[in-house]
C-alpha cells in the first residue's frame, strides 16, 4: 500500500507539473491513519497531505459532478468499482469526460475501521496491508487480523479487479474474495412472509433521521434539486413525519436510481443509523436481472438504462399481483 | 416411460378382445404399461349436472392413483376416456367441484387434475407415430376397405376432449393407412349410434345404426372399426336388416403387427 501511495503521488505531481491537469481529487490525511477525507489538490496547494491507504474506500466519482461547469482539468483516482459510477455519470452527461483524467488504481479491498475496532483493537497507529492478513500497529502493540473479516461491506461483494474506464492504471489489484453472494440479503428477505418483511422494513426505516447522507454520497443521486427538497413537488419534506414518509423517501429514492445504481454500496456505508439501504437497490437490480436480463449499470458508458428501455415481449406487470406465495 | 393402464369394466368382460389385442400390440411396439391396481369404474357416463359430485368420485380416485404413480393414464374404451378426461378437466378448471371432491376424498395431497389422460390412439399417433407404426407392420392389410367409426364420445365436446376435429376427424383414418389398408371416409362416422338407450329403447338404436351402416356401405366400407364396446354392441346387435362387420381397432392392429 505504501508503495502505491508513493507511486500515485509521484505521478500526480507530474500531471500537475506538466499541465495535464489543474486539480487532483484524492484524499487528505487526518489525525489518525484511518481518518482520511476526500479532497481537491491544486497546482498551487501542491500534494501536501495527500494520502492513499487501506481506508480510502470512498467513491470519488461523485465529486466531479459539481465540477461539470468548471473549465479546469481534474485527475481523479478511481478503484475498479468506482469506474462503474464514472461510466454511468458519463452516460447521463453529469460529468465532462474531456476534462477528466482517470487514474485507475489496482485494488484488493479496503478496510472498515469500525470492523477493526469491533475486534477490540484500539489506539491504532498504523496498518500494514500487504497480504490476506493485515498487521495493525497500535500503542498497545501489534496484532494480526484476517483481512477478509474487516473489509468494507461493499468489498465483500466485490465486482472484480477490472477497471471499466481509465486513462492510466497504477498498481495491480485482485478481486477480493467475496464473503457473500450479492443477492443473499435480498433472497433472505424474499423468503420471509409479507408480515415479516413489513416488520423488518418498519424497524429499519424507522431509524431514518433524514440526514440525507445516503443521497449525498450516492453517485446516481445527482439531481440539482431533489424532489424531496422541491417545495412544488408535493412530496417535499425535511424530516419524516410519519411512517409513510420514511417508506416514501426510500422507495422513491431507490426507484429513481433503479437501472442507474451501480451497486457501489456507499449508501449503506455512510448511513449513520446503519440501515441496510443497499438491500433496496439490490432488490431492483435483482428484479431487473430476472425480468429483463442481466444488466450492470456502468459496465460501459452510453448503455440504455432498463427503465428507459423495453422489449415487446417483456414480462407483464401482473407478474407481481398474480404471484403465488407469501 | 411406463403408462398406467385403465381398462375399465367392459374390457374385463364383454370386450376382452379390445383389451387383449391392445396389450399384445403395445408389447410388439415396445411400450410398457402397467394396469392400475384396484381401479374403480369410471361411472360409464359423465354426469352433466353441475351439482353432481358423488358420481365423479370413482374417476377422481383413479386419476389420483395415476398421479401418485407419476404416470400418464392410458385409456382405451371411448366411454372411459370421455369420462376420465372430462372429470379431470373439472378438477383442473372448476373450483367448486375441485374443492368439494377434495374435501370428500381427503387425499394426502389435493388432486388438481395433474394426471395426463391419454387415449390409446393418441399414444399411437403422438408417442409411437403413425410413420413408425407403418414400419412395424408385418402383415399389411392391403386392399381392405375399412371405415372408421368414431361415434360421439371420443370427439365431443371438442373443447374438452380435444381429441380430433369433431366434424372431420382423421386419426383413425391415419391409423388405418398405417396398417396398409384403405381408409374409407363416410359422413356418419361421427354420428351417435345410440349407445345409452340400447337397453331401454332398441328401436331407436336400430334407426341410428341403420343410418350409419347405410352411409358406410354407400361409401364402400367392407368393415368398420371402433374403440367403443358400446358402439360395437350396438352396431352388431341392434342393426336392422343390413349388417356390416365391426372390429375393435386393436384387433386390426394386432393382426397387422403379426401378434394376433
Amino acid at each position: 500500500m505504501q508503495g502505491l501511495e508513493l507511486k500515485l503521488k509521484e505521478r500526480l505531481q507530474k500531471l500537475l507539473d506538466d499541465g495535464t491537469v489543474d486539480c487532483v481529487i484524492g484524499w487528505t490525511k487526518g489525525e489518525f491513519i484511518y481518518d482520511v477525507t476526500p479532497a481537491i489538490f491544486t497546482k498551487e496547494s501542491g500534494l501536501d497531505g495527500f494520502v492513499y491507504n487501506s481506508f480510502c474506500g470512498a467513491n470519488l466519482s461523485k465529486y466531479l459532478v459539481s465540477q461539470i461547469t468548471s473549465d479546469k482539468k481534474f485527475a481523479v483516482i478511481l478503484k475498479p468499482c468506482d469506474t462503474y459510477s464514472m461510466n454511468q455519470l458519463i452516460t447521463e452527461h453529469r460529468v465532462n469526460r474531456e476534462n477528466i483524467y482517470i487514474i485507475g488504481v489496482g485494488c484488493s479491498g479496503h478496510i472498515d475501521i469500525d470492523k477493526v475496532k469491533a475486534q477490540g483493537v484500539s489506539g491504532i497507529t498504523n496498518v500494514i496491508d500487504n497480504d490476506n492478513n493485515i498487521i495493525i500497529n497500535s500503542i498497545y502493540g501489534d496484532s494480526k487480523i484476517e483481512k477478509a473479516s474487516v473489509l468494507l461491506s461493499k468489498c465483500q461483494s466485490c465486482k472484480g479487479s477490472e477497471l471499466k474506464i481509465s486513462d492510466e492504471i497504477i498498481g495491480e489489484g485482485i478481486k477480493t474474495p467475496t464473503c457473500d453472494e450479492r443477492f443473499d440479503g435480498v433472497k433472505k428477505l424474499e423468503a420471509m412472509t409479507a408480515e415479516e418483511r413489513f416488520a423488518f422494513w418498519k424497524s429499519e426505516l424507522s431509524k431514518c433521521i433524514r440526514c440525507n447522507a445516503c443521497r449525498n454520497i450516492c453517485p446516481a443521486c445527482t439531481c440539482r434539486t431533489c424532489v424531496f427538497d422541491n417545495a412544488r413537488s408535493n412530496v417535499a419534506a425535511k424530516a419524516n413525519a410519519t411512517e409513510f414518509e420514511e417508506k416514501m423517501f426510500h422507495i422513491i429514492r431507490a426507484f429513481h436510481v433503479a437501472g442507474r445504481c451501480t451497486d457501489c454500496g456507499e449508501c449503506s456505508r455512510v448511513c449513520p443509523q446503519s440501515i441496510p439501504l443497499h438491500l433496496l437497490n439490490r432488490k431492483f437490480i435483482k428484479d431487473i436481472n430476472e425480468f429483463y436480463g442481466d444488466y450492470q449499470a456502468g459496465e460501459e458508458s452510453n448503455q440504455r438504462n432498463p427503465l428507459v428501455n423495453f422489449t415487446e415481449s417483456d414480462i407483464e406487470a401482473t407478474v407481481i399481483s398474480d404471484k403465488e406465495g407469501k | 416411460m411406463i403408462y398406467s393402464y385403465y381398462p375399465g369394466c367392459t374390457l374385463k368382460t364383454k370386450a376382452k378382445e379390445l383389451d387383449i389385442y391392445a396389450r399384445k400390440s403395445l408389447e410388439a411396439l415396445g411400450i410398457e404399461i402397467e394396469e392400475l391396481d384396484n381401479w374403480q369404474c369410471c361411472g360409464g357416463v359423465y354426469p352433466l349436472a353441475k351439482d353432481e359430485i358423488a358420481t365423479k368420485l370413482s374417476s377422481i380416485r383413479t386419476l389420483n392413483q395415476a398421479k401418485e404413480l407419476g404416470r400418464p393414464l392410458l385409456t382405451l374404451c371411448s366411454a372411459c376416456h370421455h369420462v376420465l378426461t372430462r372429470v379431470n378437466n373439472d378438477m383442473k378448471t372448476n373450483g367448486d367441484i375441485n374443492m368439494r371432491a377434495n374435501n370428500y376424498c381427503a387425499f394426502d395431497e389435493p388432486y388438481n387434475g395433474e394426471t395426463q389422460v391419454i387415449h390409446f390412439l393418441t399414444l399411437l399417433k403422438e408417442v409411437v407415430g403413425f410413420d413408425n407404426l407403418a414400419k412395424k407392420v408385418v402383415n399389411p392389410l392391403k386392399g381392405r376397405k375399412i371405415g372408421a367409426y368414431y361415434g360421439c364420445l371420443l370427439l365431443r365436446p371438442s373443447n374438452e376432449l380435444a381429441f380430433d376435429d369433431p366434424e372431420n376427424p382423421s386419426i383413425l383414418e391415419d391409423f388405418i393407412k398405417a396398417l396398409g389398408a384403405t381408409p374409407v371416409v363416410y359422413p356418419f362416422r361421427n354420428e351417435c349410434c345410440g349407445g345409452y338407450i340400447s337397453v331401454t329403447n332398441k328401436s331407436q338404436a336400430t334407426k341410428n345404426v341403420d343410418k350409419i351402416v347405410a352411409s358406410a356401405k354407400y361409401k364402400g366400407c367392407e368393415q368398420l372399426i371402433t374403440a367403443c364396446p358400446l358402439c360395437m354392441y350396438n352396431l352388431n346387435e341392434n342393426a336392422g336388416a343390413d349388417k356390416i362387420e365391426v372390429k375393435y381397432f386393436t384387433e386390426l392392429l394386432a393382426e397387422a403387427l403379426g401378434v394376433k
Binding site: H93, R94, C223, H256, L307, V308 | D165, P187, E191
Partner: protein
C-alpha cells in the same frame, strides 16, 4: 384566490335519475374557491351553455368544472364555450358523472357520493390549471390510403379530385380488392366489373394518384399533418415501365400449378401472371416461390419470349419513405376459414362452396366462363341450397359474434341470378332471419321469393353429407317443427367475413385502436364514424365493420371529405398539453429523451441563472410542435424537471388527494 364555477348537468334523466344533482351542487359550494354552482337539465344545450357563459362573466370565474358526460364527449364543446365568454379554454375541467357514475350505479346515495367525489377532484385539479395557448403545426399536403379495394379507390379519387396528392398502397399486385371478384351487385344487379373497372382506370390515370401495388406499409411515425411512412415495394421481377401486359409470358410459363388467388383457388395460374384481365396496373408479376428460374435457376422461358425485355429476375424489394398529412386505413375484409365448420363438409366435398367462390363460378371472366357447373364433375346442377349465417352471429368460439351484414342480400342475389339464368334449377335457402335494411333491399329479397320462387326455409343445417350421388342436408324446418332431409347438388355457404389479417398490424402501426374483432374503432360510433380516435387517421370501408358496397362507397367519400378538410388547412392547431422542462431542475441526463416516441426532446447548452449563479448547463428543451403530450418523459425524469401541461404532477396529485379524502 381563484374563483371557480361548477355546473352540474342532469343529462335529462341520464344523470339525474341516479345522482341527486341538487345535493352535488350544495356539496361543491362548500369547496374552497367555489363561488358559483348550479345545475341544469342539459348543460350542452345552447341554454345550458348560456348559463355557463353568463356565470363566467358575472362572477368573473377563473376556472370552470362541468359535472356531466365523458370529457371525450363534450370537453371540446365546453372549452369552446368558455372561450366565447373570454375564459381560457384550458381552464375548464370535466367531472365524468355519467359514464363513470350514473350509468353504472343504481343506488342514488352511492351515485351522489361518488359524483361529489369526482366533482371535488375536478375542482382540485382546475385550481391548478394554467391558461394554455395552442401552438401551430404545418400539414403535408399528401394522403396515404392503405388498401386498394373499392373503399381505398373511392377515397383516393375524391381526395385527388380536390387537388391533393394521394398514394394508394395495395399489398396484392392489382387494385380492385374483393369487389373485382364479384359478378353482379345488389340490389340493382349491375355488373360489378362494369362499375368498378372504370374507377380503377380513373385511379391509375389521375395525375394526383400514385398506385403502389404489391407494396406494404412497414412503419409509420409522426402525428397528424406530419406522418412519415416507410413503404416496401415488393420485387415483382418485372420492370413495370416496360411490361405491356401482353400476356405472352403467361402462356409460355411451364410452372402452371399456382393457385389462382383471384378465382379463390378454383383453378390454377402460371408462376408469372397478371391477376386478371382488367388488372391495374396491367403488368405481370412473378410468384418467387413458384418460379423455376428464381427457385432453381433453371427455365428463364418468360425472359426469352418477352419482347418488351421487361423481366428482371434479380429485382430487389424497394424501400420508399414518404411524408403524409393524413392516413386512411382501407384494409377491407376476407371470408373466414371454414375448417371449424366441417359439419357442412366444405373440406370433404368439392360441391360445397363459399359464396365468394360462387361469384367466380358465375362470372363470365371466371374459371368456367360463367357457366354454373358442379365443381366435382362439371355437370349441371339441378338443386342448389344456400346456408346463411355460416360463422356469423356465433359466440361459440368457432365463428364471429357479429352479423356479417352482406350475406342475406348477396344470397338473395345469387338465388335470383341462378333462377333467372337456369330456371330448371331449384334453389333453397336456409336462414335464421332475413335482414334487409337498406333502400330497395327488402323489395329485392321479396322478388327472390315471389318472382323467382326461391324456397326460403327457416332453420339451420346440422349436417351436409353425401348419399346416392348427391348431397343431403339434414336441417331444421322450424316453421313446420320438423327435421328435414333436403337433397341438393351443390351447397353454398354464406361465409362470415372478418377484418383482413393486415388490419391488426396496420392499426398497431397507426396507433389506431382496434376492437376485439380486429375492426378499427371509430372516434365516436355516431358522430365521428370515419375518424379513428388518433388524429389524422381515417377509416374507410369494411376495416371499420361489415358493410355492403353502397355503404362502403358512401363511407369512403365521407372519409375523403374529412381528409380533404384536414389537408386544406394551412396550419393545424396543436394540443397545448405538452411537456416542458424546468431549466433550473434539469440535470441534462437524457432519460426523458430516451423514452420520447416523437424525438421531441433535444438538448441545449444554455446560460442558466440559478439563483444568481450563472453557468452554462446542458438542459432538455421540448419541441412543442413534435410533442404529443404522452407524459412518458415526466416519469423518466428523476428530478421532476419535466412536467406536462394540462396533466401536471401537482394537478394529478391534487386529484388523488381529493379522491382519497374521506
Amino acid at each position: 384566490m381563484l374563483k371557480i364555477g361548477v355546473f352540474v348537468c342532469w343529462c335529462g334523466s341520464n344523470i339525474a335519475a341516479t345522482v341527486d344533482v341538487k345535493q352535488v351542487v350544495e356539496a361543491v359550494k362548500l369547496q374552497q374557491g367555489v363561488v358559483f354552482a348550479t345545475d341544469y337539465q342539459y348543460m350542452c344545450s345552447e341554454a345550458g351553455q348560456l348559463i355557463m357563459r353568463n356565470a363566467i362573466e358575472e362572477y368573473k370565474l377563473d376556472g370552470v368544472v362541468i359535472c356531466s358526460c365523458s370529457p371525450r364527449m363534450h370537453e371540446a364543446t365546453f372549452r369552446k364555450n368558455a372561450e366565447r365568454a373570454g375564459l381560457n379554454p384550458f381552464m375548464v375541467e370535466i367531472a365524468n358523472i355519467r359514464e363513470h357514475c350514473s350509468w353504472i350505479h343504481k343506488d342514488v346515495e352511492e351515485g351522489t357520493i361518488k359524483a361529489i367525489a369526482l366533482a371535488n377532484a375536478a375542482i382540485a385539479k382546475v385550481k391548478l390549471n394554467a391558461p394554455l395557448i395552442s401552438g401551430e403545426s404545418g400539414v403535408t399536403k399528401r394522403a396515404l390510403v392503405i388498401g386498394g379495394g373499392i373503399a381505398g379507390i373511392q377515397t383516393a379519387l375524391d381526395i385527388a379530385e380536390a387537388g391533393f396528392q394521394v398514394d394508394i398502397v395495395e399489398k396484392s399486385p392489382t387494385i380492385g380488392g374483393n369487389m373485382a371478384k364479384l359478378d353482379k351487385t345488389f340490389p340493382t344487379l349491375d355488373c360489378s366489373a362494369c362499375i368498378l373497372t372504370p374507377k380503377m382506370v380513373d385511379a391509375a390515370a389521375n395525375p394526383n394518384i400514385e398506385l403502389l401495388t404489391y407494396s406494404e406499409v412497414e412503419k409509420v411515425s409522426g402525428f397528424v399533418g406530419n406522418f412519415k411512412a416507410t413503404i416496401r415495394k415488393k420485387a415483382r421481377y418485372i420492370n413495370t415501365d416496360l411490361c405491356t401486359g401482353c400476356g405472352d409470358c403467361m402462356s409460355k410459363c411451364p410452372s402452371k400449378k399456382g393457385k389462382n388467388e383471384f378465382n379463390c383457388g378454383l383453378n390454377n395460374r402460371p408462376a408469372i401472371y397478371i391477376p386478371f384481365a382488367q388488372a391495374i396496373p396491367n403488368v405481370a408479376v412473378i410468384d418467387p416461390v413458384q418460379c423455376i428460374k428464381i427457385t432453381k435457376d433453371k427455365c428463364g422461358l418468360c425472359q426469352t419470349v418477352c419482347s418488351a425485355k421487361a423481366i428482371d429476375y434479380k429485382q430487389q424489394d424497394e424501400i420508399i419513405e414518404r411524408e403524409y398529412g393524413a392516413i386512411v386505413a382501407a384494409t377491407g375484409y376476407k371470408p373466414i376459414k371454414l375448417d371449424k365448420f366441417d359439419e357442412y363438409g366444405y373440406s370433404q366435398s368439392k360441391d360445397v362452396i363459399t359464396s365468394l367462390e360462387l361469384e367466380r363460378l358465375m362470372n363470365a371472366a371466371g374459371p368456367t366462363g360463367g357457366k354454373l357447373v358442379k365443381p366435382s364433375d362439371g355437370s349441371h346442377p339441378h338443386t342448389i341450397t344456400f346456408i346463411q349465417c355460416v360463422g356469423s352471429r356465433d359466440i361459440s368460439g368457432r365463428g364471429k359474434c357479429y352479423c356479417s351484414k352482406i350475406c342475406c342480400m348477396y344470397t338473395a342475389k345469387h338465388a335470383m341470378l341462378i333462377r333467372d339464368k337456369y330456371p330448371d334449377v331449384n334453389v333453397n335457402v336456409f336462414y335464421i332471419d332475413v335482414r334487409t335494411p337498406g333502400k330497395n333491399y327488402d323489395e329485392f329479397y321479396r322478388r327472390a321469393v315471389e318472382e323467382y320462387n326461391v324456397n326460403y326455409i327457416k332453420g339451420q343445417v346440422g349436417k351436409v353429407y353425401e348419399s346416392d350421388g348427391h348431397l343431403v342436408l339434414q336441417a331444421s324446418d322450424l316453421l313446420n317443427n320438423e327435421q328435414i332431409l333436403v337433397n341438393s347438388d351443390m351447397v353454398v355457404l354464406a361465409t362470415a367475413i372478418e377484418a383482413d389479417e393486415s388490419a391488426k398490424k396496420v392499426a398497431s402501426m397507426l396507433t389506431a385502436s382496434i376492437d376485439t374483432n380486429n375492426f378499427l374503432t371509430e372516434a365516436h360510433a355516431k358522430l365521428r364514424p370515419v375518424e379513428s380516435p388518433t388524429a389524422g387517421i381515417f377509416l374507410s370501408g369494411v376495416c371499420q365493420g361489415p358493410k355492403d358496397i353502397p355503404e362502403t362507397v358512401s363511407q369512403a367519400s365521407a372519409c375523403a371529405a374529412k381528409v380533404i378538410g384536414l389537408l386544406s388547412k394551412a396550419k393545424l392547431v396543436t394540443n397545448p398539453c405538452v411537456a416542458h422542462s424546468d431549466e433550473l431542475l434539469c440535470n441534462g441526463c437524457s432519460n426523458c429523451a430516451n423514452v420520447c416516441p416523437y424525438g421531441a426532446i433535444g438538448y441545449e447548452t444554455k446560460l442558466i441563472n440559478d439563483h444568481g449563479i450563472r453557468e452554462n448547463r446542458r438542459v432538455a428543451v421540448v419541441n412543442p410542435a413534435l410533442c404529443q403530450g404522452c407524459g412518458a418523459c415526466t416519469v423518466a425524469c428523476p428530478s421532476g424537471a419535466m412536467d406536462l401541461f394540462g396533466f401536471s404532477n401537482s394537478q394529478i396529485m391534487a386529484e388523488v388527494e381529493a379522491i382519497c379524502k374521506k
